[in-house]
Symmetry: C2
Subunit: 267 residues, 2 copies
DNA sequence: AGGCACTTCCCGCATTATGGGAATATTGTA
DNA sequence: TACAATATTCCCATAATGCGGGAAGTGCCT
């Protein structure tokens, strides 16, 4: 049976009466259509279901702003410099956070525990942000902290995607122990990486700190490379409900896949 | 003295009577402001000089669309998933073209000769697009064609940014000769790479094809790596005017710098 | 040449965005 | 903890602004 805190992410804690601005809404429908596939005015008018003249005006505005460009053959529109420049201006960490944020919130709502993001930094994982659990009892915010990859699942799932020789170099160093349960034996670590690869997620029980359990799943960018991990953690006394490890893990994998996709990853 | 075709790029061959859509214009001012630096509603209202309530409504719309997100601390806005996803969806070649296009048009207007873009592909340069000269006599469109790097300045300027050992491997192969003027001697090529590095641009005179001269300058992406070249070429009888080689080269470098900057490059 | 489809332009109408201002929330300060 | 200062959210009357039908212009294919 599902514990009380489990709920489908119905999300949308929207404000009350607010109306959105029509023309901006429409402009973004067009942009999304164009991003999906470049097209001319009348094609676009058909696909967003608006009169041609309206679409023409909106596109003219977007073109004027540099958000879209006509391709050299002058017949179809494409996403333009202004938009691309805005996107590249954002520093990659921020952009990962921005892309992931709505998913984090969904997941917090579904799991009832804190959910966070981390990125590799040398042989450490660096926690770049989290969305907090609504629970009154919660784990401190680890944002900004770096930890050795082998003590947290976030690190282990990242490691699990590295090529073998890189893993060998990683393990060919003395590994710190954080709690009595920290796994520091290279062979045991290797077999956990295998588990992570097979399942897509990995659990750790009080290996980094007494009283904290954690799961993680890897995130991929548009070049297919691991670029970080999504994790959730909570106090050991309530997280995870033993019967839920697999379900939670799979949910995490699902959400991680959505984030990767939004980052341009195509499996 | 400047030849007749030389002119400042006054560009903007705008349409006649068209009005842009106010709310979209404003929305993009906000997006640009946010991309430059995340900020809250009232800060943004001040910087774009609009009433707070108006800005609030515009931001709400953008947030609803996922174009912006509130940062985890909930006080400032950031560029959001929808925008970033659109940008990453575009394939990199297309996005380079899109970013560069306005600059290409400016440069064509200034030089009066065809201007194009190419990207490295193994030991070749691949021509991905061009903006044509208005001249009745012009060079054929090379879009889609690949050429060995050593026969065109576009290739040479890319090579000039490679690490030495990569250049060594490149030169340690038999190099094809295309015309009597093609340079295939490794030592001569090395010294031309040096020239390219020093000047920022490089000329070639009928080395790839009789009757064609060409200049190129390298383009850098946000990670600081060469990602292609900007070049211009024209019939040898008129291009370049001998006294103009340096001025044209420097202009090319300028424009290449603008493109690189729009790609996120910071020197 | 003729026809079809796409794009650009015009203009009267009312839908829609606008912004002043009040209410509420949040933050800083004593 | 209370109070002030600032930021955000909400409401609503007003007309400015975006809207879209339709005509004119352009280009393409057969």
């Amino acid at each position: 049976m599902l514990p009380g805190w489990w709920q489908e992410s119905n999300n949308l804690p929207k404000r009350q009466n607010v109306k959105t601005v029509q023309s901006i809404d429409r402009a973004f429908s067009l942009l999304e259509e164009i991003a999906r596939e470049g097209a001319g005015i009348s094609d676009l008018a058909r696909s967003v279901n608006l009169p041609t003249s309206t679409v023409a005006r909106l596109l003219y505005t977007l073109e004027d702003l540099g958000a879209i460009v006509r391709t050299i053959d002058d017949t179809t529109y494409q996403i333009g410099p202004a938009l691309l420049t805005m996107a590249t201006t954002v520093d990659p960490t921020q952009s990962l956070l921005a892309v992931a944020q709505p998913h984090l919130l969904d997941l917090v709502e579904a799991l009832g525990e804190t959910v966070g993001l981390s990125i590799p930094a040398g042989y450490d994982v660096h926690y770049i942000g989290e969305a907090d659990s609504p629970h009154p009892v919660q784990i401190r915010d680890w944002t900004g902290v770096s930890l050795p990859m082998h003590v947290v699942p976030a690190g282990l799932v990242i490691l699990s995607q590295w090529p073998n020789d890189a893993v060998d170099r990683f393990l060919d160093r003395p590994l710190d122990r954080f709690t009595s349960k920290t796994v520091i034996d290279p062979e045991q670590i290797r077999s956990r990486l295998e588990v992570a690869r097979r399942q897509g997620y990995l659990w750790a029980h009080e290996e980094f700190s007494e009283g904290i359990n954690s799961v993680a799943a890897p995130l991929y960018n548009n070049t297919g490379v691991v670029m970080g991990a999504l994790h959730s953690h909570g106090p050991a006394y309530r997280f995870p409900d033993e019967t839920m490890e697999e379900i939670i893990g799979q949910r995490l994998v699902q959400v991680a896949a959505s984030i990767s996709e939004a980052l341009g990853y195509h499996p």
